[in-house]
Structure formats: structure tokens, C-alpha cells
């Protein structure tokens, strides 16, 4: 099939960007969206034009590296019948003659590096602030010494499947990183091992979230709707409960 692509091209962080049009023939519907971009890049290279920069790695929807806004929705969520990452979106969801608009994640906390590539290191900094359980290697007790209720362990798992792609931030009208942050909170809070640091963790992560320039949540639900891993919106309520409770505890008072 033939398609027309309108792609955001931006030379670097400080350059002005704009949409450019490209024509592609011979797109097969078995291709993934990124394979279609590969094809475009092969054509551009052949024509001595600089290929479009975009992030990708595993191409099986688990590493979280890829992420572009396709026709206005993160990962092209609304082009696909099921939740998806960009790399798992297939061209069979488009039609011959379609015009497809492709943009990078746009958020204050995710500056554009080039074309469709953005800097998501703010997510790492949120994890650094407290998205872990403090246990040095070798100091762990026997795995069966603390049973974890299956129902809670499953809930923890659901939240732990977050791939850190940033679609939630890209889709959020406020550029909030709440779904990401709350997924980690929900993961660790539902396990017995996560209890000792629970109050400090939520304070530290929420503080890091704000320090890194993410906006505030308005409970709109756009984030959960585009999430490729279906992290539920309830995670944010869990974070809110924990944060409010933590304000009445002394954890993190000392500098």
C-alpha cells in the first residue's frame, strides 16, 4: 500500500522543528510501524537525505525504548485495536492512501534530542529517588521466610510490568509522570518487602517527580488509556493515599 508520512524533523535540542512530508510506496501490511520507518530511512539514505532518527531496541514491546506519537496518540494507541508499543503497531491497522502524522513525545520533562528521539532520563531520576527496596547483595533472607499473599503479589506484578516508555507523560495534557511514578509505588507497596520504606519512598519519588518538571495530575485518564502495559489508573490513587498518609509521618524529616 501507499502512504504519506508527515514527520517531525528537528536537527537537535535547540533547533526549530517542523513537519516534513514523505511518500512511501510498497508498504506491506505485515510490517511493523518501525519497519515501515526503516523502509523510509533506506529510501532517504539512497536519496542522500539524512534518515529520520527514532529510538528502538527490542522491537518486541518490552524494553520501552521506542515511542512516538502517531496521528495524535502515543504509540498510535488509537490506531490499534489493542494496547501497543510503537514497535508492535502493525501496518495492517492502516489503509492504502493514509496520511500518517508522526511526532515525538512532547513534555517539558522530555526534551527532544533529535527528530523523534527524546531524553527520558527524568524517569531514571525518579527511580533513583526511592524506587527500590534497600537490600544489599548477599543480605537477603531465605525467599520463603516471608510469604506474600498471592492477590497482592499479583497486583504488584501488574504494576511492575511498566516499561518506562513515557507514553503516559506524552499523552497527559499536563505532562505529568504520575502513572509511571505510581506504578512503581504500587509495585513495591503491595509486597511485604516494600513496607519498611513505604512512607519515605512515596515522599521521595513524588518530590523527584515535581523537581524534574512533570506537571500535576488531573485524573483525566489519558495516561492509562494509552499505556501499552495497561497500568491501571487506580495506581495513581494508591500513590495519593500513600502520600497523604505519609504527610502525617516523620519519614524524611531529616535532610
Amino acid at each position: 500500500m501507499k502512504i504519506t508520512l508527515k514527520i517531525w524533523r528537528q536537527a537537535n535540542k535547540n533547533a526549530e522543528g517542523s513537519m516534513h512530508s514523505y511518500q512511501l510506496d510498497n508498504v506491506s501490511e505485515e510490517m511493523s510501524f518501525l519497519e515501515m520507518l526503516d523502509l523510509l530511512n533506506e529510501n532517504l539514505t539512497a536519496g542522500d537525505e539524512e534518515p529520520v532518527a527514532f529510538d528502538y531496541d527490542c522491537r518486541e514491546g518490552i524494553c520501552g525504548m521506542c515511542g512516538i506519537v502517531i496521528n495524535g496518540s502515543a504509540h498510535g494507541r488509537y490506531e490499534s485495536p489493542v494496547p501497543t508499543t510503537t514497535c508492535q503497531l502493525h501496518m495492517r491497522n492502516f489503509h492504502d492512501g493514509d496520511v500518517i502524522e508522526v511526532e515525538p513525545w512532547r513534555a517539558g520533562a522530555f526534551p527532544v534530542i533529535k527528530d523523534l528521539v527524546v531524553d527520558r532520563s527524568a524517569f531514571d531520576r525518579i527511580i533513583q529517588a526511592g524506587g527500590y527496596i534497600s537490600v544489599n547483595t548477599g543480605s537477603a533472607p531465605e525467599a520463603h521466610s516471608t510469604p506474600a499473599p498471592k492477590r497482592l503479589a499479583d497486583r504488584a506484578f501488574d504494576a511492575a510490568t511498566c516499561i518506562g516508555c513515557g507514553a503516559c507523560v506524552a499523552a497527559c495534557p499536563n505532562g505529568a509522570g504520575m502513572l509511571f511514578t505510581s506504578a512503581k509505588i504500587t509495585h513495591l507497596d503491595n509486597l511485604p518487602q516494600g513496607q519498611p520504606e513505604r512512607m519515605l519512598r512515596v515522599k521521595a519519588m513524588v518530590a523527584a517527580h515535581d523537581d524534574n518538571g512533570f506537571g500535576g495530575c488531573q485524573n483525566i485518564g489519558e495516561c492509562a488509556s494509552v499505556c501499552p502495559k495497561e497500568i491501571p489508573l487506580e495506581s495513581i490513587a494508591q500513590l495519593n493515599r500513600d502520600l497523604i498518609a505519609s504527610l502525617f509521618r516523620g519519614d524524611g524529616r531529616a535532610q
Binding site: C63, Y132, V135, A153, A156, H187, Q193
Partner: protein, 669 residues
């Protein structure tokens, strides 16, 4: 010894060097070796640790675990990865699970049995001492991960669930639905980020290692390229750890991440690190078949699917186009159950893969016709796929139970193929998945360059000629959490070493080499894209150095690769400049290294005139078509030394001694 299998004395492809041996594993009974080694290794006073710098390349299970653990110990760690975040490393894609000798099931499991299974599964081409240690520390890995908050599957009582996994008869595999690798990596990543916050680890993402700096025989630093700005930087330390993963992408189409590459390992190899058993490649039997020409990678589905799914092809080639549901039971050939009655669909990966290939070679494959060029140079059309059928499992367990167990895999299949696996059988075909080969290391995980350590898939160590399911995660974490942090101190105790900087000759040479290579790549300005070369290399490797290898085929492959290399450096087209985010340039450097590696893999495969594990030589098989080893001649690790561009590599043999386990021909019948 038979005359037919003896390599010629003068070989056009390589020269034979001196034998090598691992000198680090202490003497004594195998179950005492690791504790003895830990006791004998020199220690570093905690107060001195922050004066010692360790550079770690890669942030997968091995790299992140090592970074976190060394950081906790107080060393000054710098960690590098080419991705935008350490959490993206390809360990994240492992699905099935992680083995550990916990014996929670009371099914006769033990450290010894895990050790035995791993050596046997590796077709007796692994080093006993390393494998025993792997089995020994496996139980601690589970403890560590649970404490970190890894949400393993649990039973209603709140205790950990386990399942049985490819090629073994005990249930020792711990799992987190179909995303075990992801959960383990996130655990290690979080531990790493905790150390970043603590100031012991400095993380450098979007940095690719281009050279090792070897000063006075010691690995003392690395040269990296900042993938955003193009800046070429040097980093110095007292030891360098490579945890840069496997090189399956030499086949272009593999289940590896697109960015996975051999560059770090290959650059170290060129500086003197021996490459161990490069030809040992694992082909995974349950991948989604190729769809077309622009295919960029293959997707694996966990082989846990083989626990409940049944693999078959039509008995009659004419049924290939029929709806599989319309093919009656008596016209189906459940070939694995037929040939291997006791293991059935759970035979090791190499056997399952090869049998699928044979079925398709026999014309009984299913799915779309794919055009191929045969080794004889003819074009032919074949169907490359076999059915993986859950009809019976759905009838027996109910759709709900199947959904709970395999739901995410089924969804993945449906998303990629557009077919509903609950309604029709899935189509699968083998694909390159893992490489057992890698840089040669001793018991301490130190390569043949002093101070250069290699962890995880990047080293050759624990899997021999074939890796068992759920053992890669175990090895990565074992190396990173428990082995390296207890051996590297033996080396670092002699440090800090003399300070070096950009003025040191070794640094200047490494810098110069990295810069000139980039300039050379950009200067070619040819007509073919980097990817087109990569695809061609992959096609050569898959055809001649894939599931089945032959003497003539490998020789053809070597010639073709040499011609490809020549064309590459004359005709590759790399757009853009170095001082920019330039993905074409990144790939160009990696493909150049893959070409060189491909040649060495073929030479290794050619020299090993036996079949073992993932390495199957058509000339060496039993009467019923099984891999036939020649223990009298090939019970050694092939460690290859680089001697310069265009000159023959030197083969060093490390003889494999089996003291705890008796060598046997593997049988899964």
C-alpha cells in the same frame, strides 16, 4: 581418533597455538572449590574501595547486578550503556524463568542435579568448575531477587510457584508470568539506581564503548562515543568489566534487540582477549516465523509454551495450505512425541529446532512460501513453520487456565500475526536466540587481558555448547551479584594502579583507533546502506553457519564474508557526521565488527568437526540423525587469539576435564 575427523596439520584458516588452562579454580573436591576460592582471594579494605574505579560496560542482568553490588561494596563504579536508560538492556525480553536449586518441590532437585543437568544440557562442552559454582549460588539469587521486590509468581499460600522448563524433569524454574527477565532486570536496575543516588555509581547512558585501553598488559580504561553529541571520550579505572551481552545479531534476524552488538567484545578481542567457542549459537525453537523482506527482527515466544502446546506438521505435504483445524488427527505428525517418547515436546532447544528444520526441508512445513537460496546456489520455495497447537490443552485445562498461564504470549502472537491462537494453532519456527560463545574467561571471570572481566552472555563460560532454558537469567545474575564481586577484589587488591591519562601512549592509540575508524566509515560514501550489508551477512550466516553446518558450506561462507568485508569498506554509505546523533554511524561500526566476527565463527565452526549442542555438523551425526560428539578430539574450549587484520587467528585449546561427571552421549529418547 579417526583419520577422517582430524584437522589438517597445516590449515589455511588458522594456526594452532599453545594450550591454555584456567589457573584460578582451586584444587579439591568440586563442592569446596568456590568457598576455597572466596577464602583465598585477596580482599580490599573497605576504606580503600572508593579509591578503586571499575568501569562496567552494559547494564543487563550481569552489568546492572555487578554495578549495584560493587557500588554497595564501596567501589567507585562507572556504568555505560548504549540505550537511553539502563533499564532497557535486552535481558528485559527474557520470558520464561530462572532456574534455582531450591528443591521447594521436593522432587529430588539439588545443587548437584542442576550442575549435572547444565553440563549435560551443554553437551559436555562447559567447564565443570564454573557450572558447579553457578548451581551453587543459584538459590541465593532467588533470595536476593525476592528481597528486592521481584514479583515472582506465587501460590495461594503466599509461597513461590515453580514450573518445569525445557529439557529437565524437575520443577526448579521460578517465573514472573511471561516477563521474568523484565522483572529481574527491573530489580537489578533499581538496585543500580539506588547506588547512583548513593553516589557510588555514575551512569553513562547513550554511550557506546569503542575501544579498551590496555596499558602495560592491564585493561585500564575504555574509549566511548557519546551517542547524542558524538564526542569521543576516555574513561580510566583499575578494572574493566564487559557485560555487553551476546552477538546473535550477526545473523541480522534474531530475537536479540536491534541494538545488541559485539563491538565491546570484539574491540577487546582485538586487544588480546581470547574469543571462546564463537560458533556455539543457540537457535530457539518457538519463534514467530518470518513475514517478509523488511522484517527487522524475530520475536520469541517462551518455550514454556511447549509444556502444554503440542508441535506437529501435516503428514502429507499437500495439507500445508489446509486450515489446520480441518486436518484430522491421523493425518498429523506430532514428530517430537513420535521421535522422543520420554521427553516429547520438551526436548532441548537444539533438537526441537533442528527437527522443525527437517520437517520443513521435507516439504511438510506450513505457512507462507518463502523464497530461499540453497547451499548449492539454487532458488527454491519452502514453507518455514510448524504448528504449535493448544487445542488439547484448552480442552483439558479450560480456556481460562490457558489464558492465565500463557495469555500474554497469545496476545503477543495475535498482535504480530493478526491471527487468533485460541482458535487456530500458532505457527512457529526456530530463530537465533542466544550465543553460548563469548570472550574466554577463567574461573574468576577474568579474560586473557589482566583486569578485563567479562560477565553474562558476553563470556563463554557456563553453558557449553548449548544452554538450557531459564539458565541465562541465572548465569547473568550469578556473575553479576555473586561471582564477579567476590573475585574482582583479588585483582583490585593490588591497586590502585599507576594513574594514566590521555597523554599515555595506550590511550592515544586507542583514541586514534576509534576516531580514525569513524572517519574511515564516513569517508567511504558508497552506495549501499549499512542495513543492506547487515542483511546480507545475516543471510550468509543463517544459511551456512545456522542450524546445520558443513565443511563446504562453511568454506563458502568464509569466502563470501571476506568478499562482503571488502565491499563494505569500499561501498558502504553512512550519512551524516560524527558530531551528531547519528544512528547510521552507530550501526556502521557494529556491522563492521559483526563481519569480522562472522568470519571467526565460521572458522571455529569449520575447525570443530563434531556436532555438539547448538553446533551441528552434518558430517558428524549418529545413525538416527543425532549430534555426534568426538570427545577424544574436541573436548576442549576453542579460545581464539586475534593476530591482526587479514592474518590467521591462533587457536588455543583449553582441555575440558570431567572429574565430577562422566562424559556421556546425550540422549533424550
Amino acid at each position: 581418533m579417526t583419520a577422517t575427523t582430524r584437522p589438517p596439520a597445516s590449515n589455511p584458516y588458522y594456526t594452532l597455538g599453545a594450550e591454555i588452562h584456567d589457573t584460578k579454580a582451586p584444587a579439591g573436591p568440586i563442592e569446596k572449590k568456590w568457598s576455597t576460592r572466596k577464602f583465598e582471594a585477596k580482599l580490599v579494605n573497605p576504606a580503600n574501595r572508593r579509591k578503586l574505579t571499575v568501569l562496567i560496560v552494559g547494564t543487563g542482568l550481569a552489568g546492572a547486578a555487578a554495578g549495584a553490588t560493587l557500588g554497595e561494596a564501596g567501589y567507585n563504579v562507572h556504568n555505560f550503556c548504549y540505550q537511553d536508560s539502563p533499564r532497557r538492556a535486552h535481558s528485559i525480553a527474557a520470558q520464561g524463568g530462572i532456574n534455582a536449586a531450591k528443591n521447594y518441590r521436593n522432587d529430588n532437585d539439588s545443587v548437584y542435579r542442576l550442575f549435572y543437568d547444565t553440563v549435560k544440557g551443554g553437551d559436555y562442552r562447559a567447564r565443570e568448575t564454573n557450572v558447579y559454582r553457578l548451581a551453587e549460588v543459584s538459590a541465593s539469587i532467588i533470595d536476593q531477587c525476592v528481597a528486592q521486590g521481584v514479583p515472582f509468581a506465587r501460590e495461594y499460600g503466599g509461597l513461590l510457584d515453580t514450573r518445569s522448563f525445557g529439557g529437565v524433569q524437575v520443577q526448579r524454574t521460578f517465573y514472573a508470568r511471561g516477563q521474568t527477565g523484565q522483572q529481574l532486570l527491573i530489580g537489578a536496575y533499581q538496585a543500580l539506581e539506588r547506588q547512583v543516588d548513593a553516589g557510588t555509581v555514575t551512569m553513562h547512558s547513550r554511550h557506546e564503548m569503542l575501544e579498551v585501553i590496555v596499558h602495560e598488559g592491564r585493561a585500564r580504561g575504555i574509549v566511548t562515543r557519546d551517542l547524542v553529541s558524538g564526542e569521543i571520550e576516555t574513561w580510566y579505572g583499575d578494572a574493566v568489566v564487559l557485560a555487553s551481552g551476546g552477538y546473535g545479531n550477526v545473523f541480522f534476524l534474531s530475537t536479540n534487540a536491534m541494538g545488541s552488538n559485539v563491538t565491546a567484545s570484539w574491540r577487546a578481542h582485538r586487544k588480546g582477549a581470547y574469543f571462546g567457542n564463537p560458533c556455539y549459537t543457540q537457535i530457539h525453537p518457538t519463534c514467530i516465523p518470518v513475514h517478509g523482506e523488511m522484517q527487522s527482527k524475530l520475536t520469541l515466544m517462551s518455550e514454556s509454551l511447549r509444556n502444554d502446546g503440542r508441535i506437529w506438521v501435516p503428514k502429507n505435504p499437500d495439507d500445508a495450505e489446509k486450515d489446520p483445524r480441518d486436518i484430522p488427527e491421523e493425518d498429523r505428525d506430532y514428530y517430537l512425541e513420535r521421535i522422543y517418547p520420554s521427553f516429547g515436546n520438551l526436548v532441548p532447544r537444539d533438537i526441537a529446532s533442528r527437527q522443525a528444520k527437517y520437517m520443513c526441508d521435507d516439504g511438510r512445513g506450513v505457512g507462507p512460501l518463502v523464497t530461499e537460496v540453497t547451499q548449492e546456489g539454487e532458488t527454491q520455495q519452502r514453507r518455514r513453520g510448524v504448528y504449535l497447537d493448544f487445542t488439547e490443552a484448552i480442552a483439558r485445562l479450560g480456556r481460562k487456565a490457558v489464558e492465565d498461564k500463557y495469555g500474554n504470549l497469545f496476545d503477543m502472537y495475535a498482535q504480530i500475526t493478526g491471527e487468533d491462537p485460541y482458535a487456530t494453532p500458532m505457527r512457529i519456527y526456530p530463530a537465533v536466540h542466544y550465543v553460548m560463545g563469548g570472550l574466554w574467561v577463567d574461573y574468576d571471570l577474568q579474560s586473557s587481558i589482566k583486569g578485563l572481566y567479562v560477565c553474562g552472555e558476553a563470556n563463554f563460560s557456563d553453558h557449553g555448547a548449548n544452554r538450557l532454558g531459564a539458565s541465562a537469567l541465572m548465569q547473568g545474575l550469578s556473575d553479576g551479584y555473586f561471582v564477579l564481586p567476590n573475585t574482582i577484589n583479588d585483582y583490585l587488591a593490588a591497586g590502585p594502579f599507576e594513574k594514566i591519562d590521555d597523554m599515555t601512549q595506550a590511550s592515544q592509540e586507542a583514541l586514534e583507533s576509534a576516531v580514525s575508524r569513524i572517519e574511515k566509515l564516513l569517508a567511504v560514501k558508497g552506495t549501499r546502506s549499512v542495513d543492506s550489508f547487515h542483511r546480507e551477512l545475516g543471510a550468509i550466516m543463517w544459511e551456512y553457519c545456522g542450524m546445520e553446518r558443513t565443511e563446504e558450506g562453511l568454506k563458502i561462507a568464509i569466502d563470501k564474508i571476506r568478499a562482503l568485508r571488502e565491499e563494505y569498506w569500499k561501498n558502504v554509505k553512512v550519512t551524516g557526521v560524527n558530531e551528531d546523533f547519528n544512528q547510521a554511524l552507530e550501526r556502521a561500526g557494529r556491522v563492521a565488527d559483526f563481519i569480522d566476527l562472522g568470519e571467526l565463527m565460521c572458522i571455529d565452526a569449520l575447525h570443530r568437526r563434531e556436532s555438539c549442542g547448538g553446533h551441528f555438523r552434518r558430517e558428524s551425526q549418529t545413525e538416527d540423525g543425532e549430534a555426534l560428539r568426538h570427545d577424544d578430539q574436541y573436548a576442549y574450549v576453542a579460545a581464539w587469539e586475534f593476530t591482526g587484520d587479514g592474518s590467521k587467528p591462533v587457536l588455543h585449546k583449553e582441555p575440558l576435564k570431567y572429574e565430577a561427571i562422566e562424559l556421556k552421549q546425550r540422549s533424550y529418547k
